[in-house]
Amino acid sequence: MRLKKLVPALALTAAALTVVVAPAFAGKTGAPSSYKVVAWNDLGMHCACPTFAGFLLLPPFNTVRAQVLGYGGNDPVIIDSTNAGTYGVTVSYGMADNTESTLQADSYFQQWITYSPKLFPGFVPVVGGKVQGIAGNGISGNMAYDSNLKDWTAVGIPAYPLVDANSAKNVMTDPLGGANRNPYPMTNVYVKNSSGTILAQTSTVTPVAFGGCCSCHLSLASANGYPATPTGSFAYLGKMHGMNSSKIDFNYLDPTGDGTSGPIRCSWCHWDPAMGESAAPGLANVWPNYVIMAGATFTKADVKVSQYSFSDVLHRFHSQSSKVLTQYDANVATNCYDCHPGNNVNCYRGSHKAKTTLWCVDCHGNLNQRTAAGQLTQPWKASTLPSCTSASAGATPAFACHATNIVGGTVYPTSPTLFGKFINGRGHKGSIKCQTCHGSAHAEAPSTMTLDNTQLSTLQGSTSYSFPAGKDKTYALGVCVFCHSGKTSTWGVPPHQ
């Protein structure tokens, strides 16, 4: 019976493979003769915190993606999980700068190791002596093929800003006064055969940096009678939280019932998809035996799942609080770097920054606009992101987007697939990810930071390649012969469809 069902299925699969693979491999026999891989970090910069004892904003969680191309004729084939199996290749990654020993010896990261099991019950941060992220990926390992997004991914690797032996790389200031750190650790991505031989490799920046929260919150704590330390800051934040409509001063929450306060995860009550959850679980569902400590002015009946997302409460409060505006920054709705990494670190550093005076708010809207447009109620959703053709809903960009379908003087056809959302969007041949050619979001090629440009400079570094005036190897992947053996070695703008 099973066999009867299986035979038609196999036949269909075979037919499908013939349709899909045959054109790409017309005239080819066997596996590709060579491979190329391009990788990127999914965002321009991941935020990290120097402490985890009080509460968690974001865990160590960088996601690296890659596309792999197999060569054997004029047109390459996209290597996916199916043909990777056929050809006996694997795709893997390894952080180049973050190592097991340095991470586990880092006093800040040690806090993550200590407190993350309380923040994510059941999570084990170190397994067999190796650090792992909350999605199960460590600082090295195999990448998985994402059949929806059509790329190889390593989700949530525990990248963390490090005190680099090469002090020139330590550009990020520690808001707590510690040593400067390197916020741009690199990750290597490999294509290997079944013997472990490297067939192709590349490197991408895995940016992760401390945000600017401490620069205001330490003095805020001090001004209100608390120590100017993370602990004092958390204590005063808890008090402030207790003064809002929730009544919950989270200093009085003992999640595990061990007699000590915290640590707490904001997303227990405020939905945060950055934690991989589609809804806030609620504290009682995470820690059923949690305790409200003596002295609290609220009860368990008050500990509810909030109707507001974490992004919403965080952004809305800061942009609308007269205390923030009058005592810290009157321009906070536009000054993203007040909170997002700007401590000598550039989250936003791509070609938009190099070529124009385009600001974050042109694409995303300022905080007042984002609030008014409801963007913050659906944080991290593709629907709230800007595309190449239009800014996010509610934003009023000062500059025209690529809406005229003319880029650099070349007219492109418009279609729903062209210039969609940059992150996870695909263009060329319907297969190539935007970020494969253009680099990471917020660090689009050519980036203002040399390190970002290293990958493309290497990939397009052949002396046989030529570039028109004003362009060079740091520009988006555009030398046709890089992928198509019979085509020009002069850089151009490939079809985006």
Binding site: A223, G225, A330, Y337, G342, N343, N346, T357, N368, T396
Partner: protein, 329 residues
């Protein structure tokens, strides 16, 4: 016919705006020679601030317009007539029916903070009369609370030291201090005094800071309520900060540096400003690559922090382009 009428109305409105702004536009601000400094490349600073000229929505927002105007004038740079015009027009459009100003054109809720900032910008351009000053006074007065303090906006009415300061600052600028209940406001402000000396942003426990000390001192002076013991205790506190105490282990902060200088001047202790300490701090905040200044050591430059740095340099006589006007933020 309908369209033609509307075109005529718009043209007439633009003519009125241009006429109102004309006196200010006639006065180009380049009274002093351009600032020079061996330590800072002000050409780069100039270019950094002028980056916003490339924006089609120039001057973008109330705060950003202020950054642009103050910084350039502080360096003795010229602002061309067209941009002055644009800034004045933007300020006029930011003034709401209630007389207050908004942070940008996307907002319709005016507040005392942005009103103060807009007034300073207009004053720097000698265009203070381009807006309805009576309405400004009415707006600020409308924020007065029973406790003697003033609120932020009609939506956020709760008093604070900062919002009370901004209200007093605005009222003084429009000759409207008669709207203040002097006794109540003095009592309200004195409630922010701290045992260490100086004033803090909150009543009750908590440390003082230079910003609040300056704000309180300004209000006390504006209402002729400053007394010797208060000034003495403020000085006592300020002497403990890293802006006067070289041995302090506290990390200095750009805003606090500015407000320390201003607070000292408000308590008639301007001679106690440690100009060398302030200047060295500015050198540490200077970002050579773009000529801007960061808010903290090791941080990148922003227009806001660069403007604050220029205010400090102006206060200690290191740039001569513009007289210190009024305090903001």
């Amino acid at each position: 016919m309908y369209i033609a009428n509307n075109i005529l109305r718009i043209a007439a409105a633009l003519t009125v705006v241009a006429a109102l702004a004309a006196p200010a536009l006639a006065k180009e601000k380049a009274r002093q020679p351009k600032a020079k400094s061996a330590e800072f490349d002000f050409k780069k600073t100039n270019a950094f601030i002028r980056e916003m000229e490339g924006r089609p929505d120039f001057p973008v927002a109330t705060v950003i317009a202020n950054d642009y105007v103050y910084t350039l004038l502080a360096m003795g740079e010229k602002i061309d007539t067209g941009r002055q015009n644009a800034i004045i027009l933007a300020a006029k459009l930011a003034q709401q029916k209630d007389g207050g100003f908004t942070p940008d054109k996307s907002s319709k809720t005016s507040s005392i903070l942005y009103t103060d900032i807009a007034l300073e910008t207009l004053a720097l351009l000698d265009a203070g009369n381009a807006i309805d000053r009576n309405k400004v006074k009415a707006f600020a007065a409308s924020l007065k609370n029973h406790d003697g303090g003033f609120g932020f906006s009609t939506d956020a009415r709760k008093s604070s030291l900062a919002t009370t300061y901004y209200a007093l600052h605005v009222l003084k600028a429009v000759n409207g201090l008669d709207a203040v209940d002097r006794g109540k406001t003095l009592e309200y402000v004195k409630g922010f005094a701290k045992k260490e000396g100086g004033f803090g942003p909150e009543k009750g426990p908590g440390r003082p800071n230079a910003r609040s000390t300056y704000m309180a001192a300004y209000i006390l002076n504006a209402l002729s309520g400053m007394d010797a013991p208060t000034a003495k205790s403020a000085l006592q506190y300020l002497e403990s900060t890293p802006y006067l105490d070289k041995k302090s282990k506290e990390r200095p902060d750009l805003d606090e540096q500015l407000y320390t200088i201003r607070a000292l001047k408000e308590i008639n202790a301007g001679n106690r400003v440690d100009k060398a300490l302030a200047f060295n701090f500015m050198k540490r905040l200077y970002i050579k690559v773009n000529g801007g200044f960061g808010p903290l050591e090791g941080y990148g430059s922003t227009p806001d922090s660069t403007t604050t740095a220029l205010r400090i340099l102006s206060e200690i006589g290191k740039v001569k382009g513009v007289q210190v006007q009024v305090a903001k933020r």
